[in-house]
C-alpha cells in the first residue's frame, strides 16, 4: 500500500514541464491533484520512474472568463468549481458538487478528472455535454482537442504521452440555467452506478438544442444523441418523452459487483427522463 519508488520533479513553467515529459517519456507521469493517480500508485496498479508535479507551475490555477467561454487552468480544483468559481456554467457547478468528498475536492482538479477519463466521472461527462475544448501542450506545440474526440476508451484519451493539459475551455450555454444532473451512487460521493446530465438551449419554451450526457454507461462518457434529436423543437410545457430513451444501440454498460448491465440501463433511462424534465422546469423559471 505504498507506491513504488520514483524521482520527483517540480517544474515551475509549462515549458519546463513539457521538456521533462518529453525527455523522460513514458516512464514519467504528470501529477496534479493526485486524487486518482496516487491511489493507483499506492495500490501499485501503476508505477512510474518519475512524477512531474504541476502544482508549482505558474499560471495554471486561473479561471478566465472570455466573452463566450470560460477557461479553467489545469490546476483549478474541483472544490472551487463546486463553490461557484464557474457560476456562468451552473451544470459544471452541479457536476463538481457530486465529485468525491470535501477532502478529495480540495485537491482534485477538473482537468485531472478529464485526463483520468473514468467513464463514470461527472466532470468528464460535463466536458462532453458542454462541448468543452481541452488544450494540451507537447513538444510538437499546442493543440485544441474537442471533448467529443477526447475520450477514447476506459481511462484512455486522445492525449499523447508527452502532452500536458494546460486548460479546459467551456462555452457558456445560451440558457445556462436549463440544465440538470442526476446520478445513482451506492454512497454519496462514490462513482456513479449510472448517471445522466442535460443542458438545454431554449428559445422561449421551445428546445433549440439539447445536449445530454450519460455516465457509467460504457467505456467512456457518452452523448445520448438519439434522445437529443428527439427533443429538438419540442415545447418544454408539453414534452413528448417517447423517444427520449437509451437502448443497447447507444450504450453498453458493464455488469459488475454493484449492478448488472440491465439494471444500469433501467436506471439510466429513468435518470434521463428526470434530467430532461428538470432541465425544462429550470429553464421555465
Amino acid at each position: 500500500m505504498k507506491p513504488a519508488p520514483f524521482e520527483y520533479h517540480r517544474p515551475s513553467t509549462v515549458d519546463e514541464a513539457v521538456g521533462l515529459l518529453g525527455e523522460l517519456g513514458d516512464e514519467a507521469k504528470v501529477l496534479a491533484g493526485g486524487q486518482s493517480l496516487v491511489p493507483m500508485l499506492n495500490l501499485r496498479l501503476a508505477r512510474f520512474e518519475h512524477l512531474i508535479d504541476l502544482n508549482g507551475v505558474e499560471g495554471l490555477d486561473g479561471v478566465d472568463a472570455g466573452g463566450e467561454d470560460i477557461s479553467l487552468g489545469a490546476l483549478v480544483r474541483v472544490h472551487d468549481v463546486a463553490l461557484g468559481a464557474v457560476s456562468a456554467v451552473p451544470l459544471l457547478t452541479q457536476a463538481a458538487r457530486l465529485v468525491g468528498h470535501p477532502a478529495i475536492r480540495h485537491r482534485g482538479t477538473v482537468a485531472g478528472s478529464i485526463a483520468h477519463a473514468d467513464p463514470a466521472a461527472e466532470l468528464a461527462t460535463a466536458a462532453l455535454v458542454l462541448d468543452a475544448v481541452i488544450t494540451a501542450i507537447g513538444p510538437a506545440g499546442r493543440r485544441d482537442i474537442p471533448a467529443a474526440s477526447f475520450f477514447v476508451d476506459y481511462w484512455q484519451t486522445a492525449l499523447e504521452l508527452d502532452e500536458i493539459i494546460t486548460s479546459v475551455r467551456v462555452p457558456i450555454p445560451t440558457t445556462p440555467g436549463s440544465m440538470a444532473v442526476r446520478e445513482l451512487t451506492r454512497r454519496h460521493g462514490d462513482f456513479a452506478i449510472a448517471g445522466a446530465m442535460c443542458q438545454l438551449d431554449l428559445d422561449g419554451d421551445s428546445i433549440r438544442s439539447a445536449s445530454i450526457g450519460l455516465f457509467g454507461m460504457g467505456p467512456t462518457p457518452l452523448r445520448a444523441t438519439a434522445a437529443e434529436h428527439a427533443l429538438l423543437g419540442q415545447r418544454t410545457s408539453s414534452l413528448d418523452l417517447t423517444d427520449v430513451v437509451v437502448t443497447p444501440e447507444h450504450a453498453h454498460p458493464s455488469t459488475d459487483v454493484h449492478a448488472t448491465a440491465e439494471y444500469r440501463m433501467r436506471v439510466c433511462n429513468h435518470l434521463l427522463v428526470e434530467v430532461v424534465t428538470a432541465a425544462c422546469e429550470d429553464g421555465a423559471r
Binding site: K2, Y8, G34, V38, P39, N42, H79, P102, H106, G189
Partner: protein
C-alpha cells in the same frame, strides 16, 4: 533513490527531514514527526482516517507526498486540535459526550472533517453534515452518535446549551 530535503510546518512547528519522494504526508507525520494520531486505514483515499488540514482545508494525507509540501504551507493534525494543556476541543468533547466513537480509529479524521465543517458552516443541516462526512468511514458507531456529536458541537459553538 535520491532523498529530498523537506521543511514542513506541522501544528505551528517547522520540521525538517530527508525523505524518499514516495513518502506520503501521512507516513511523514507518523514516522518522522511521531504524530501517530493521524491514522492510516485504506491508504488509497477511501476511508478518511488520515484526514489532516493543509493550508486550512482538509486533505487526505495518504494521497499527497511529503515532498510536495512547501515550507510556506501549514499542516494541522489531530494533535493540533486540542489545547496545549490537553483539554479537548468543543468538537472532540461533543464526540465523547454523544458516543461519537467506539474503537476510535476513524475519530481523528472525523474530528478534522467536523472542525472544518463547523468553521465554514456553523449551522449545518443534517444533509450538509452527511455530505461533509461522506468521505469518512466508521465501522463501529453506525454514524448516529457522530451526527449527534456534530449537532451538539454546533449548538455549543453557537453559545447555546450543548445537550
Amino acid at each position: 533513490m535520491t532523498r529530498l530535503e523537506v521543511l514542513i510546518t506541522v501544528n505551528g512547528e517547522t520540521r525538517g527531514a530527508y525523505v524518499e519522494p514516495r513518502q506520503t504526508l501521512a507516513d511523514f507525520l507518523r514516522d518522522e514527526c511521531a504524530l501517530t494520531g493521524t491514522h492510516l486505514g485504506c491508504e488509497h483515499g477511501v476511508c478518511g482516517a488520515c484526514t489532516v488540514m493543509l493550508d486550512g482545508v482538509t486533505v487526505r494525507s495518504c494521497l499527497i507526498f511529503a515532498s510536495q509540501i512547501r515550507p510556506d504551507q501549514s499542516v494541522v493534525t489531530i494533535e493540533g486540535i486540542a489545547s496545549s494543556d490537553g483539554s479537548l476541543s468543543v468538537v472532540q468533547q461533543a464526540f465523547r459526550d454523544e458516543f461519537g466513537l467506539q474503537c476510535g480509529f476513524c475519530t481523528p479524521g472525523f474530528v478534522m472533517a467536523v472542525t472544518e465543517l463547523l468553521d465554514h458552516n456553523p449551522t449545518p443541516t443534517r444533509d450538509e453534515i452527511v455530505d461533509a462526512l461522506s468521505g469518512n468511514l466508521c465501522r463501529c458507531t453506525g454514524y448516529q452518535g457522530i451526527l449527534r456529536a456534530v449537532e451538539h458541537a454546533a449548538r455549543e459553538l453557537a453559545g447555546g446549551p450543548g445537550a
